[in-house]
């Protein structure tokens, strides 16, 4: 009758509260959550500075909404972290989320010393069009990643991801609408430059192919699809989104 929790997870079992997670699972789950929260907070903080550069009031509303909702999504995941004993108030303020490196810093997929944001969120945005491009490419990446996150084995977190996935998807659509308008105004060349700047950086956020951690994570039900498959999916979707607004990257 007794079953090891590791076997239960490997067979697709679901965990429902902090009292029944094994130590290694707890560590990987916390890592996954901090990475998400830090990326959302850093992403929102970076985008907040761009709101006033929006060319019209509609664009500024869209940007403000993205900032609001990404912050809200961070708060929801932070709430799950709270049930593991994290001090959420202190957490949200423990790092200057607007801090960025130089535009030319070459850090690959490495994260900073102070938080777990994805490397891509360490690069600064350069103006409105650049922000919209970054948001479109990253929006596609989030949508792809979310499809995997919604299946993860810690039910309270999977439920948060199911609830926020459509809102995150909408952020990508808003970026696409914004980009279509910029293309109509003849900003094609600047946009193309931004695409080639952000493309490799967003791609790197999927991590390395053949990562050893993947098997361990899959055995715990904390991920289901490997990095290279997710990245390939993103490439297809990002290319299609760019194609829809008339951008053909080299």
């Amino acid at each position: 009758m007794d079953m090891r929790i590791e076997d239960y997870l490997a067979q697709g079992g679901v965990l429902s509260n902090p009292t029944n997670v094994p130590p290694r699972y707890r560590a990987e789950l916390m890592k996954l959550m901090t990475s998400f929260v830090d990326s959302e907070l850093a992403g929102a903080a970076g985008f907040a500075d761009i709101i006033n550069q929006g060319p019209g009031i509609r664009e500024r509303i869209a940007a403000a909404r993205i900032v609001l909702e990404k912050t809200d999504h961070a708060a929801r995941v932070l709430q799950v972290m709270e049930s593991f004993g994290v001090d959420a108030d202190r957490y949200a303020n423990h790092h200057p989320w607007t801090a960025r490196l130089d535009r030319d810093a070459d850090i690959g997929a490495a994260r900073g010393d102070h938080d777990m944001r994805l490397a891509v969120f360490n690069y600064p945005l350069e103006g409105w069009a650049d922000a919209v491009v970054m948001n479109l490419l990253m929006g596609c990446a989030v949508t792809v990643q979310m499809s995997d996150f919604q299946k993860l084995s810690y039910q309270p977190l999977a439920e948060v991801f199911r609830a926020i996935a459509p809102v995150e998807a909408r952020h990508g659509e808003l970026a696409e609408e914004g980009l279509a308008r910029l293309m109509g105004e003849g900003a094609g060349e600047a946009i193309l430059a931004s695409v080639s700047y952000w493309w490799p950086r967003v791609a790197a956020s999927f991590g390395q192919a053949g990562s050893l951690r993947f098997e361990a994570m899959r055995a715990m039900g904390l991920c289901h699809t490997n990095n290279q498959t997710l990245r390939a999916q993103w490439e297809t979707e990002a290319m299609a989104a760019l194609g829809r607004v008339g951008i053909q990257p080299a």
Binding site: M3, Y8, S16, P23, K31, M81, Y91, D113
Partner: protein
């Protein structure tokens, strides 16, 4: 942050031979305004060691009472104490209700629910069933309830009462492992195959909106597989698992030894992912940084003493933790430290990330 509140025991009722229902009166009633299906985490000292245990609330929201069910687990210190020694008037400490084993209620809806309970897994389901039937006049609920035999069925009479009270809206199917019943299908374990048979004639699976499962691991796996095979999505299946592996007793911490000091270097043994590696590192470098510098894949996230991802346990030697915003006192007493904030004090330190 987790905080404990005081409660007074106002009633202890035996349900079956080795299970009690405990009614509690919290000093701060607002802190215990629960949602159906949630649980309470208690703490109590046993021979100088603090134990924490979680038990589900078995009352409905509208009952205005806080009740939990505690089944005695073989060798379990807390559940044995609750079953044998707990009395009216005793004081307990518990955290505010937690857990997400519920769905939002809508009085206007006419939803069909399906619940699966194994043994004491009935406690949160009883709370859900009572609350849902009262709050959603159009709701229908079917419960599949697995037990060893007739005399181990918790809340048997209460479930019968609910059937009479909500005529035609609540149905219970008892599956007994050992006792024979009139219908063969109702004897044995609740497996994936058993569920498939139940879905053929006894349960209208196609119209089920939400399913709740609370029981031991193999049972949850089998039922979930059957539900998915019959078209339910992950979002429609709610799980609650209280792993049977909650230890009854805590191991005593290994006493600190070897307090002498060498030239600011420490030998640190890291147990990680089942393997142990020993390195020599400066006492001015945190346990985590030394591990990472030596290509050990130690878990970490914030490196600020906030998130607790890098938590490990000191088995031997002494370390100094310079900041701690995440671990609670009882964890620190058990020897847990945040490795990003901890520096070796003794010349030899042994830490374990796997426990």
């Amino acid at each position: 942050m987790a905080r404990f509140h005081d409660l007074t025991v106002t009633d202890v009722t035996k349900t079956i031979r080795d299970a009690v229902v405990v009614t509690l009166q919290p000093d701060d009633a607002d802190a215990f305004d629960f949602t159906q299906g949630q649980y309470l985490t208690f703490r109590r000292d046993f021979e100088g060691q603090e134990l924490r245990r979680s038990y589900s609330i078995c009352a409905g929201r509208q009952e205005g009472q806080l009740k939990i069910g505690i089944k005695r687990v073989e060798g379990g210190a807390f559940s044995t104490w609750a079953n044998e020694e707990l009395q009216v008037g005793d004081r307990l400490q518990a955290m505010a209700p937690m857990g997400s084993f519920f769905t939002a209620l809508d009085p206007a809806s006419e939803r069909q629910y399906l619940g699966f309970a194994g043994g004491s897994g009935i406690t949160p389901l009883l709370s859900i069933i009572k609350t849902t039937l009262a709050a959603e006049p159009g709701a229908r609920f079917t419960l599949v309830y697995a037990n060893k035999g007739v005399n181990t069925i918790m809340f048997r009479e209460e479930l019968e009462d609910l059937k009479n009270q909500h005529m035609g809206r609540f149905n219970v199917i008892h599956i007994l492992e050992a006792d024979a019943q009139e219908i063969d299908l109702f004897t044995g374990l609740v497996t994936e195959e058993k569920c498939a048979e139940l879905f053929r004639g006894w349960i209208d699976i196609e119209n089920v909106d939400t399913a709740f499962i609370c029981g031991p691991e193999p049972m949850m796996l089998g039922i979930a597989a059957a539900l998915r095979a019959h078209g339910l999505s992950d979002a429609q299946i709610k799980f609650e698992l209280f792993a049977s592996a909650q230890p009854g007793r805590l191991k005593a911490r290994v006493a600190s030894k070897d307090a002498a000091s060498a030239a600011n270097q420490a030998e640190i043994a890291y147990a990680l992912d089942g393997a142990t590696r020993t390195i020599t590192a400066s006492k001015d470098t945190s346990l985590l940084e030394s591990a990472l510098a030596n290509q050990l894949d130690a878990p970490f996230a914030c490196k600020a003493g906030v998130c607790s991802t890098c938590r490990c346990r000191v088995l031997e030697g002494e370390v100094e933790m310079v900041a701690n915003h995440a671990l609670e006192d009882y964890e620190v007493e058990k020897g847990y430290v945040l490795s990003c904030q901890s520096f070796p004090v003794t010349d030899r330190v042994v830490v374990d990330y796997d426990q």
